[in-house]
Symmetry: C2
Subunit: 406 residues, 2 copies
């Protein structure tokens, strides 16, 4: 850890003198610093089965990389690289060597696309994926330092939102080539953009991406699936631009719908869509919805959404909230929308009943006196006589009956 | 109207003396009486295109039958039946003659299934569907009285929740055979059950049903789609039982998944599923969700749900709320669930920040002094510097920065 931070510090100084301060977005995401205070969960045993398309992009990062950062401290004490398999890198001289940090389900998923496009994958992770890598022609490194010593063309951070800052800070940047491109795949984008701009030496390229799919939705190919990217800092001179284009072409060639937008724009869209989706899923999960014998198709979609949401960790949802500056605004809007709907229901009810009480409008359809008598009969079918739950309706119902005429 | 009500009054008395008061569920739905106070919308010009599966069952009833009740008063002044087409009733002597009240999109949709199973359909509606009926071998009647004079075996009420009571009360029951089966297709079931038990003569059969599908979800057939029914009152003697079985066999033969349950049980399930689904759709509609260039699949399902929900009238949603005694309880649960999620997010945030403020735990990842300086630079990239929206996060963020060390 000490040496890693040393490398960082060494690179940190030039970054401070970067001639492009305007790119830094100085109001950097406010909560990144809080990540380190979070308790770290125990490490997962290994790769997990694929999950839902909606959220799996983050979920894998979450599960695997949340622990990644904490483990670096120990792992990087190891002095020498120890790839678990011999190199099976692509022979094409224009092929990229992509080093993936965090090799859980999502990292593996992305690696398959990279390999399909003829590029080489190098990987490191807190957990030992050497066996998986051996079987898939990937060089696995037991430490981040070892991976960096291989000087990959692109360093692809596949860590969770909450652990990304620690992971990036622990990366021995001095071991990398100065024109390295660092990319990420987080579901929030302003945070990694500002973090990478702050931490990386100015020569490093920065490409922030968000594949809006995962192992489940992408299991039949990536065709038409949206891939968001922002070439945050790519030098026009030298080979960095070509490397960046080659990296992005992986996703283009796989058929993704390439969406270039700023990180800020992404976060605005994502808060109003992805975060809202997760929030609805979380709310429904709290309701403990059950399948019924009479599910409508609409209800089935909500059940599916709930299942997908809870299959992700709460940390992911928390990350979407904490690391997107637009999330609280969306939360407030959702709050107001729910209040509006309640107001429409109860307000209309109130209006109808007030009409009876104040304007003395009779209720032609109110239960007749004989049905009121029947209600007092011990022979009444109790199965069908569930009383109203406490609510404004209940409050008014007695009045409604008492004014009934029919 | 006067004569219709006269018939009703005539039948009403024997019903009061019914020997089966325990079936009446004397705590009849409390809000049925309020329907008549509602403003009546202008009549739709004609049949509307099919809509979503989730909700179309009610939507059609809503649109067409909301006006139906109000129109009876005028329409039923007509003294004589005037079928718009000559009878094309089925020749099979065991075929039923099913009279449908309310012949909008949903009534027509159900009629097609009835006809496919070899039964005859007679129809009446506020709007003039004589042309449609003429083209589809259905006898159309311009008044409810005229339809009843034909003495159908089954009277199928396809009206909206809000208008059903008025429709049933306006039906000239004396013109019908005493063993007539009256059935409904509402999305709530305790309300029509209790209403029909209260209003219909004791000899009349009562079958409450809820096809959990509509023109959209059922456009490729009804196979496997749930059909809920409750044989509320069917005489074992005489031909009523056989008629009821023949009526239900229509849906069974069409492939529906037949679900027999009490009306109370239906309403419990429906409040926790269908009503919740509509509520989520309504809340999302209030948010005015927009499609983004980066929709996830989960978000797409929410957009679809919203579209389906708002294609139904608010009256339908109001009906699901007002006429299901379990709806307010579900609304309260949803309210609490949303509060719980907010509490989990903001509570965790609060916990982290309190740790810094009270326990003075440093934040290793907080923005460095140079980035804070940069934030004050006029050259900062304003595109990326959207401030936090007003929220608890915002309240604490300044404190977080002020204690930052890195």
């Amino acid at each position: 850890m000490a040496s890693s931070l040393g490398h960082f510090a060494c690179h940190g100084s030039p970054a401070a003198a970067s001639p492009t301060p305007s790119l830094l977005g100085r109001f950097s995401p406010d909560f990144c610093a809080l990540a380190a205070l979070r308790p770290i969960r125990p490490a997962a045993a290994g790769a997990k089965p694929p999950r839902d398309a909606t959220t799996s992009t983050e979920q894998e990062q979450q599960e695997q990389e949340q622990q990644l950062a904490s483990s670096w401290r120990g792992a990087y004490e190891e002095p020498s690289p120890s790839p678990s398999v011999s190199s099976t890198e692509a022979q094409d001289p224009s092929a990229l060597r992509v080093g993936i940090i965090g090799f859980g389900n999502f990292g593996q998923f992305i690696a398959r696309g990279i390999q399909r496009q003829g590029h080489a994958v190098l990987a490191t992770s807190r957990s030992d994926y050497s066996e998986y890598c051996s079987a898939h022609g990937i060089r696995f490194f037991r430490s981040l330092e070892a991976l960096c010593e291989e000087q990959p063309d692109v360093l692809l951070v596949c860590s969770s939102i909450l652990s990304t800052e620690s992971v990036v800070r622990a990366t021995p940047l001095a071991k990398l080539r100065p024109d390295t491109i660092v990319a990420d795949v987080l579901s929030v984008k302003q945070f990694p953009r500002n973090l990478l701009l702050e931490i990386l030496p100015p020569e490093f390229g920065i490409v922030c991406t968000h594949p809006m799919f995962g192992p489940e939705s992408g299991k039949h190919g990536w065709s038409k699936l949206p891939f968001v990217y922002d070439k945050v800092r790519v030098a026009e001179e030298g080979g960095q631009k070509a490397k960046c284009d080659r990296f992005l072409s992986i996703f283009e060639q796989e058929g993704c719908r390439m969406v270039e937008m700023t990180c800020a724009e992404h976060d605005r869209h994502a808060a109003g869509s992805q975060f809202i989706t997760h929030t609805i899923g979380r709310v429904l999960a709290q309701l403990n919805l059950q399948s019924t014998p009479i599910n409508t198709k609409g209800y089935e979609t909500l059940l599916q959404l709930t299942e997908n949401t809870v299959s992700d960790s709460f940390d992911l949802y928390y990350g979407l909230f904490m690391y997107n500056v637009n999330a609280t605004e969306q939360m407030d809007k959702l709050d107001r929308a729910f209040d509006d709907v309640k107001q429409m229901l109860y307000g209309r009810l109130h209006g109808v009943l007030r009409k009876q009480i104040v304007e003395r409008v009779p209720m032609p359809g109110a239960p007749s006196s004989r049905s009121r008598e029947g209600r007092e009969s011990p022979a009444a079918n109790t199965q069908e006589t569930k009383p109203l739950s406490p609510s404004p309706c209940h409050t008014f119902s007695t009045v409604a009956f008492s004014t009934a005429k029919c």
